[in-house]
Symmetry: C2
């Protein structure tokens, strides 16, 4: 069931052109090839706990992970959603501030932290790409803050579906044709943690969007979107801001 990835050549890697190594040339890739190793995680398994000493950094190759923060009384907020090619870990700091958890079976391409940091200081291509990725994440976090702070429950759900559709579209090569459709990679509870809601409210709002014809459900997890502009309108986004398609 689970891919094995005992060792894949970087040149054959599915995330070769999107990950931290995207700008590396053949020499640099060979150097990374030396220090990398693959690691698999099962759905639900912790990758790192907040406060843990972290001995590696790396990229998600396949599967989905979440970054969450939990308060003492159990309230929980998701603060990052990691798809293939996303980077895990913070160079220059010994521990993480958030829990990282695999929500599906997942494979990571790991680098031991020290050699990677050393390489980063001598190889501008890596630091440059990591800066670019971090700036993108910061933009996404800020968009997310608007959702958390100011949007209604219905708008939050519509926004989440739009975001997932956009990210899925970005990962695939081909243009989506026909009706746009998305597999939600999260349970209702995880969506609630993403959006600062309860799982009951998530369920109710999904039902409401379905009744109103904004989305079509096939099973619990699969969503078709008859009219993407309608969805973006429900999300409260500028009609042009989507840059989807």
């Amino acid at each position: 069931m689970q891919d094995h990835f005992t060792h894949v050549q970087c040149s054959d890697c599915p995330i070769r052109h999107r990950a931290v190594c995207a700008r590396c040339d053949a020499d640099e890739l060979a150097q990374l090839e030396q220090m990398k190793y693959y690691r698999s995680f099962q759905a639900g398994q912790a990758i790192i706990w907040s406060g843990d000493r972290m001995e590696f950094v790396g990229s998600v190759v396949s599967g989905i992970a979440t970054l969450t923060q939990t308060m003492e009384d159990g309230r929980r907020q998701m603060v990052g959603l990691l798809l293939p090619s996303d980077f895990v870990g913070r160079p220059g700091r010994s521990s993480v501030a958030f829990d990282v958890t695999a929500t599906t079976d997942l494979v990571m391409c790991c680098f031991r932290k020290k050699p990677f940091e050393d390489m980063m200081s001598t190889t501008p291509h890596i630091a440059q790409r990591l800066l670019e990725m971090t700036l993108d994440e910061l933009d996404a976090a800020r968009e997310w803050m608007l959702i958390l702070g100011r949007k209604t429950a219905r708008e939050k759900i519509a926004s989440l579906i739009a975001i997932i559709a956009r990210r899925e579209a970005g990962l695939r090569k081909r243009r989506p044709q026909g009706m746009l459709s998305v597999d939600l990679p999260l349970t209702r509870e995880e969506m609630a943690d993403y959006l600062g809601l309860t799982l009951e409210t998530v369920s109710r709002q999904i039902s409401a969007l379905r009744k109103d014809g904004v989305i079509v459900l096939e099973g619990n997890r699969h969503v078709s979107i008859p009219d993407i502009d309608r969805l973006l309108e429900e999300a409260g986004d500028d009609s042009d801001g989507g840059m989807l398609v």
Copy 2:
């Protein structure tokens, strides 16, 4: 009233050791010195509008700016708070996604975008420092997401005061002695935009924290904190997480 900053030597600059230029050596500083210029903004004045073409990047030298996002119907969320030494602008992208506004009189040290980008690609010290600063901002954004998504109004206010106290403490050299005290650099409405609340709720919760002795007000803007641990407890933070003092 307003500082003039016609031209300050980098070596005398108050943010020399915290800004994007922190790691630059004398040569690199001389190069930056060539391309920099100062620009002043009045309280309330826009620095850049969302979507504008941006012809410069730069550092806040003195004063405070906010980064905000606004929905079509006027709902507004602050997504960044810029204090002296913070960086404005995104290398490698031609426009900004957020409104940047001076909330006090403010001085920026600006670099024209193109020469700065060119220098970044040849001077690792700048890209490295910018990466570090961006990672810090991302951490702050994620902490903020927990506040927006899961905290109560009272916890939000306590968290904001704690954050401002922490950042002010970071900017000053000397250890604060005696009772910790903070000047709120924001109006009630700006605090509301920061926290995803209304200004009325902000006002009510500040009054409540005052009545309960968690904070002491002197005027509307000045807050003293008799017991920082009590404040952090009210903020819902781990007692140890503060790293203040």
